[in-house]
């Protein structure tokens, strides 16, 4: 029992010196007329990693914070916490069972890939329009609903998953485009004061509208689409000893420890495909290059003959569509309701803030990190009464920490 306090003490130690570092380092740097943009995070990391032993030399020598310092300090912090955790809870599955950890990590990455797709949509919107869409979760919800209703209808029921996905893409794209033209375009035309706040509120209104519209039209019964594709049944190396790979129609099992449900695997693979499609679109087509040009420099792009308003509409619709597609693939994994968009949107916010607002690679990496943190959080927190009850909070803790320590995120442009 006394062991458990080791972890608590380590955590307190890290948090305390991290806070001290993040509070005082920027002041010391600014007193010496040095660049303070990286001092908060740097101070926090060095403080958390080494405590006073690190902070005092840091404050005396005030070195420039390079990525190398960041990385070294982060590794030390993680190391301290992992070691303390292992000492405190030697029987915890995350310490004693390697297969369990592997399974959590795999599932975290798989679900993270799907989250990234949705967050990519949000970050795309941000990079072109400079706003965060608070209706993103509702596009996700609508995408899933479209797939469910197509799969349950007699007309499209047999058409197959690709047609359903196409349907979800079309519907969410159209909703996004119409909304952008009606409500966001005036913002670009400079007719709106304080456009960022306006955008927050007006997308909020849209989210309200869509959520209850769907509830009014479709009811609030929980629904779920059937599995898109079945796995072929494989047992390798042989049926007696399938320790490498064993699949059933609904599950894939690797090395006997890692189990990935079919629905998640399929969703993740579709997400990866869509990701490549998006990259191709952005980097290999004229329109996609136009989009990127607008995100780099609006003025220059419009001089070059790109209509920025059309690009705004395209970006918003495309972003909504990505969320819709993300929902469309997940409706076979989760039970669907008009309210499912709310936690999903919150998670996307976490991802784009962590990755850096407007950064495409950031959304991708952020998605996987958030997927991992949620899986490991729910899997490793020792108290079973709390582990799952705190799932909504894990991401939010990342969000608030990122905003406090490095608001630009992992890959954001420096402010």
């Amino acid at each position: 029992m006394a062991n458990q306090q080791i972890f608590l003490l380590a955590l307190l130690w890290v948090v305390f010196w991290g806070a001290i570092g993040s509070l005082f380092t920027p002041r010391i740097y600014s007193r010496k007329d040095l660049d303070i943009s990286r001092a908060t995070l740097g101070g926090a990391l060095v403080g958390a990693a080494l405590g006073p032993i690190g902070l005092i030399p840091l404050w005396i020598y005030t070195p420039r914070f390079t990525n190398r310092i960041y990385a070294a300090a982060s590794i030390i912090v993680l190391g301290i916490l992992i070691l303390a955790f292992a000492r405190a809870y030697p029987d915890n599955l995350c310490v004693s069972d390697g297969g369990f950890v592997a399974s959590q990590v795999t599932n975290g990455i798989v679900i993270g890939l799907i989250y990234s797709l949705m967050a990519l949509g949000l970050t795309l919107i941000y990079s072109i329009l400079g706003i965060v869409s608070f209706a993103h979760g509702e596009f996700y919800m609508v995408g899933g609903m479209v797939v469910y209703f197509m799969s349950a209808s007699t007309l499209f029921g047999r058409a197959g998953a690709w047609v359903w996905l196409l349907g979800a893409a079309v519907v969410t794209f159209v909703i996004g485009a119409i909304f952008e033209i009606l409500f966001l375009r005036p913002m670009g035309e400079g007719k709106i004061e304080r456009p960022k706040e306006y955008a927050i509120l007006v997308t909020f209104g849209l989210s309200f509208f869509l959520q209850y519209l769907v509830q009014g039209l479709a009811g609030a019964n929980p629904v779920k689409a059937p599995r898109f594709f079945d796995f072929p049944v494989i047992e390798l190396p042989n049926a007696e000893d399938p320790y490498l790979i064993k699949t059933t129609a609904g599950n894939l099992r690797l090395f006997d420890a890692v189990s990935i449900p079919n629905t998640r695997f399929v969703s993740a693979m579709i997400s990866v495909l869509l990701l490549f499609a998006l990259l191709f679109f952005l980097y290999r087509t004229w329109t996609g290059r136009g989009l990127r040009a607008v995100s780099e420099d609006r003025q220059a792009a419009s001089v070059a003959g790109i209509n920025p308003y059309r690009m705004n509409t395209l970006a918003f619709a495309l972003g909504g569509m990505l969320a819709g597609l993300s929902g469309a693939t997940l409706v076979q994994v989760f039970t669907w309701l008009p309210q499912v968009g709310i936690p999903a949107a919150a998670r996307s916010f976490v991802i784009i803030v962590l990755g850096g607002m407007g950064s495409l690679p950031g959304a991708f990496v952020g998605g996987i990190i958030v997927g991992l943190v949620e899986a490991l959080g729910a899997g490793c927190v020792p108290d079973p009464a709390r582990a799952a009850a705190y799932i909504p909070a894990y991401g939010m803790i990342i969000l608030t920490l990122t905003l406090l320590l490095k608001p630009t995120g992992l890959f954001g442009r420096e402010l």
């Binding site: 706040e197 509120l201 209104g205 509208f209 209850y212 919150a346 939010m396």
Partner: protein, 413 residues
């Protein structure tokens, strides 16, 4: 000489306040309308204080309901776990307190099997005649407001560097974490079952010779109204004082105002703290009035309701925000009734919210200042215009052309 516009600025609110004071003469007979009125004041406090924070100071915080919840939970925890006894219990955690004992009960969580807490154990051994007192809920109000203020101070200080979208996301994060903590720490907060709170006047109260029971609506109506009026007074004083001027300057251009000597940090944190205290106070009173508080008041829907009220009323006008809250609350409530057109029954519980989202979007797009705020301006300005004309005439008569602009000073922003 008192200008007519000044008269209007003071007279109109005073008349409204007086109307609200005597309103129970008409609506007092219907506990349901009284209930709506009390809830309307509660939302009006939240919307008006949020409009100071978001509209005047430009801090788009989604944590306003969190401060409300912090206040209410602080008061509820105080009411649930703090007792004063005349004799030491020996079983509870206790500290001597002016010759009595301040007892902190042990949290037992929610359970149906009648689990006993330490006070139940003590009750069996205590000598007859010893008293167990649940201290006044008004100390709980103080406790709640202070807790709300402290958190407001903390959040205000943390978000200094964050602007618009980042601030909104940070506060959403804070709010979600708070909700998760309250739902998960069941031993203390009783999670989703919520904490029960004593009525405002547990033993009833006698007002003007008429005694009201604990469940009567008149006393809470006046308590909430008083809180509302006091908060509106403070808010209107703040916005018309230098503080109001400075926070608007900060909103428009933080760097420029800092360069002009406005203490940016101080005012931002100050606004966060005061509005958080107001929200907390509203939360405590509403909690005691309703009798129970659950973590579901923190769901984003509740916050969006407050935001929508302020926006539809008029974000940059505390009075408009308050009026917007009252109108919207009554509107949404009265729209609950389903109706039937021919064979189709429209279930209004859902569709009214669809309409609500639509109204919110349209208001934002086409009525930037909300729906109520322009009306207020109109009433105020018409008189300003008349006054200006009168002044101009007087000025022409006196042949002093400088007086023409004097009336403009009274115009509302």
């Amino acid at each position: 000489m008192m200008k007519r516009s000044t008269l209007l600025r003071i007279g109109l609110p005073a008349a409204l306040a007086f109307l609200l004071l005597i309103a129970p003469l008409w609506i007092g007979g219907s506990p349901y309308i009284m209930h709506l009125a009390i809830t309307a004041f509660y939302y009006a406090i939240l919307a008006a204080s949020w409009s100071l924070l978001a509209g005047y100071a430009g801090q788009f915080s989604f944590a306003h309901m969190s401060f409300m919840a912090i206040g209410a939970y602080a008061a509820a925890l105080y009411g649930t776990y703090i007792r004063i006894t005349t004799v030491a219990t020996e079983t509870c955690r206790e500290i001597p307190f002016f010759g009595r004992w301040l007892v902190i009960l042990d949290p037992i969580g929610i359970s149906q099997s009648s689990q006993t807490n330490c006070l139940d154990l003590a009750r069996q051994t205590m000598p007859a005649g010893s008293m167990i007192i649940q201290p006044s809920i008004w100390w709980g109000l103080l406790f709640g407001v202070v807790a709300g203020g402290l958190f407001g101070l903390l959040i205000g200080a943390l978000v200094l560097r964050l602007r618009s979208t980042y601030l909104a996301l940070f506060t959403i994060g804070f709010s979600e974490i708070l909700r998760a903590v309250i739902s998960a720490e069941i031993d203390i907060t009783q999670g989703q079952s919520g904490l029960e709170m004593a009525p405002l006047f547990p033993n009833g109260i006698t007002l003007f010779g008429h005694s009201y029971s604990a469940s009567d609506k008149i006393p809470p109506y006046y308590v909430m109204l008083a809180l509302f009026l006091v908060i509106m007074l403070i808010l209107s004083w703040v916005v018309s004082s230098r503080i109001g001027l400075f926070i608007r300057a900060i909103r428009e251009d933080q760097e420029a105002s800092a360069a002009l000597g406005v203490h940016v940090v101080r005012y931002k944190v100050l606004v966060f703290t005061i509005t958080a205290m107001m929200a907390a106070a509203a939360g405590v009173i509403q909690g005691h009035y309703i009798g129970i508080i659950t973590p579901n008041i923190l769901i984003i829907l509740q916050m969006s309701l407050v935001i929508a009220m302020a926006v539809i009323g008029g974000l940059e006008n505390i009075y408009a925000a308050a009026i917007g809250a009252v109108i919207l609350l009554f509107g949404l409530e009265l729209l609950r009734n389903s109706f039937t057109i021919g064979p189709v029954t429209i279930d209004m519980t859902t569709w009214r919210l669809v309409a609500f989202g639509l109204v919110l979007m349209i208001t934002l797009r086409f009525f930037r200042n909300g729906l109520i705020s322009p009306l207020i301006d109109r009433v105020m300005r018409r008189n300003v215009a008349r006054e200006t004309v009168a002044l101009r005439n007087a000025a022409t008569a006196a042949a002093t052309p400088t007086a023409t602009t004097a009336g403009e000073g009274g115009s509302d922003e």
